[in-house]
Amino acid sequence: MKRIIAAGLLFTTAPAFAHARLTDSVPAANASVKAPGQIRLHFSETLEPAFSGATLKDAAGKTIPASAAVGGTAVTLIAPVLRPGAYTVEWHGVGHDTHRVDGHFTFKVIP
């Protein structure tokens, strides 16, 4: 019902958010995947590259060297070949409204 009212008011049904937030990622949170070449995080709005990014950590909490690229609504981590195990992605994002959001999620690499 809320969405219908919003659509009526805004003449659209496209989702909108007041603050940037992580909408999805590849690999997804809690997924078990074969070693990914890159990790991609999608946000709800355009990010400020200078203040947005992500880091990758292994199960022991050690940072894995990975380069982060921020463009539009996405953050991409190019990681080396990951060994089987659990990994945590810690991310932070700032939208044009200057508000900072952050969080983390884990995924598993399987042989």
Binding site: A14, A16, F17, A18, H19, E48, V94, H96, T98, R100
Partner: protein, 275 residues
């Protein structure tokens, strides 16, 4: 908290500058019999406040973006590399242009143009812009800009009226009629854009509305309703009777409430609308 105060102060100051200049321009065109009140001191005071509030807003927003304490290097990075920083730079240029305009005693149209742009520009980085449908930020930004400008016409016009009351203007009833004519359009635009902005921010998000955001929004709406009550009493009860003393009292109360509304709006811009 200081960031909320800085935002509120900036909006209150630029709204006063803009609305006062718009009303002075309207008086000049429609009622040349009334010489606009000499508000030089008020203009300089609010322009100084706008400049100071701008600086504080930039430093605190930069710290918020970086998640650290205020720092010169981070502030410079925000100025160079973010939309907020670029908008800030244009705003500062406009405020400095206003310094020149006031120093040269320029006409109200130029002051209205520069202060209106300085008032409306933060809409580009507002919640409403971020919540625009399909990421067409221009929709939300335009609505928010109209919302800010309408608020400015109302609040700044009240400040101009207060100056006329202080001067014991002989043709105050004419000035009041003109103000109510302008303010009615401004209030209509204010209500329409406010409704759409609130709907897009709150209903466009999947999350539930944040209680604190709703409480502040409720406080803002209640205060606006009280202002409208005073405005309606002025327009339809006191003005036909020529009771200017009561109108002056109500207008002063309306102006104080308007400043409260602006600070509440400043808080809304900082609070997360949804959980």
């Amino acid at each position: 908290m200081i960031l909320i105060a800085a935002r509120g102060l900036y909006f209150a100051a630029t709204m006063t500058l803009f609305g006062e200049a718009v009303f002075a321009a309207a008086l000049r065109k429609r009622l040349p019999v009334i010489v606009p009140a000499a508000t030089t001191q008020l203009r300089w005071a609010v322009l100084t406040l706008a400049l100071l509030a701008s600086g504080a807003w930039l430093m605190l927003a930069a710290a918020q973006m970086a998640g650290t304490a205020p720092d010169a290097a981070i502030t410079a990075q925000v100025l160079r590399g973010t939309l907020f920083g670029q908008v800030f730079a244009v705003r500062i240029v406009l405020l400095l242009a206003l310094v020149v305009l006031l120093a040269c005693n320029s006409g109200p149209r130029w002051v209205a143009l520069a202060s209106g742009m300085a008032l409306a520009l933060p809409a580009l980085t507002s919640h409403a812009a971020a919540a625009s449908p399909a990421n067409f930020t221009v929709i939300g930004a335009t609505l928010d800009a109209v919302h800010l400008l309408s608020g400015g016409i109302w609040i700044g016009g009240l400040a101009a009226l207060a100056a006329l009351f202080r001067r014991k203007e002989a043709n105050i009833v004419l000035a009041l009629s003109l103000f109510s004519e302008i303010a009615m359009i401004a209030v209509l635009l204010l209500a329409m854009t406010g409704l759409i902005n609130a709907a897009s921010i709150l209903l466009g998000d999947k999350g539930a509305a944040a209680p604190l955001y709703l409480a502040v929004l409720g406080g803002k709406l209640a205060t606006v309703a009280a202002m409208l009550g005073l405005a309606i009493a002025n327009r339809f009860r006191l003005l036909p009777r020529g009771n200017t003393r009561a109108i002056a009292r109500n207008a002063a109360m309306e102006l104080m409430m308007g400043v409260i509304v602006v600070f509440l709006a400043g808080a809304l811009g900082q609070l997360p609308p949804t959980l």
